[in-house]
């Protein structure tokens, strides 16, 4: 039972254009969401998060959008740069679980084409 889904295993985008990564979830108890980036042989690096009380959060080139009614979130990267090539994981947590368990998607491999 996959509660967090990233349906696109891979995505290629031209340098300078917008990258859009998508994530869907099924558990209504999730109330905060995070995006992580992972390079080979390194641990996941936190990028940006959003609480369910908001529908948008921005940090520099990264913006996360949350659509609670559709149980969908997306990460926009603009402009895309070669260093953005990595695997991106969407993760979700629930503040009333009483713990910090994060449920991750399977990841999307983003390749930025110079």
């Amino acid at each position: 039972d996959q509660q967090v889904k990233q349906n696109s295993p891979s995505l290629s985008v031209q340098e300078g254009r917008i990258s859009i990564l998508n994530c869907d979830y099924t558990n209504s108890m999730f109330d905060y969401f995070l995006w992580y980036k992972k390079y080979p042989a390194e641990g996941p690096t936190f990028l940006i998060s959003i609480s369910s009380i908001k529908d948008k959060n921005e940090d520099g080139r990264f913006t996360v959008f949350l659509n609670k009614s559709a149980k969908h979130l997306s990460l926009h990267i603009v402009p895309s740069q070669p260093g953005d090539s990595a695997v991106y994981f969407c993760a979700a947590g629930a503040s009333n679980f009483g713990n910090e368990k994060l449920t991750f998607g399977t990841g999307t491999r983003l390749t930025i084409i110079p």
């Binding site: 390194e42 936190f46 609480s51 503040s95 679980f97 713990n99 910090e100 368990k101 994060l102 991750f104």
Partner: protein, 114 residues
Amino acid sequence: DAGVTQSPTHLIKTRGQHVTLRCSPISGHKSVSWYQQVLGQGPQFIFQYYEKEERGRGNFPDRFSARQFPNYSSELNVNALLLGDSALYLCASSFRGGGNQPQHFGDGTRLSIL
């Protein structure tokens, strides 16, 4: 400041053996969580410890155990190793341990079972 550090970086064991993985959180962080990541999947939650007490446990058998020490470092122990335990084991730390905040990951321990 040092990030989350994990040791060892790589480990090879045979079936039936026991293994201990170690994690030091970011200075000032009191919560440590452990995740298992198998190839092609996102990290899966194993345990969370906060102030030396177990806060959460994922869907893993009793062969998996963990503890947290007074200095907030943590150990993950796995007994009676199976081939399926081959994975990247990730440790993450956070300050408050109560969710709705980023967890910061180490680079992991790559465990191979022969």
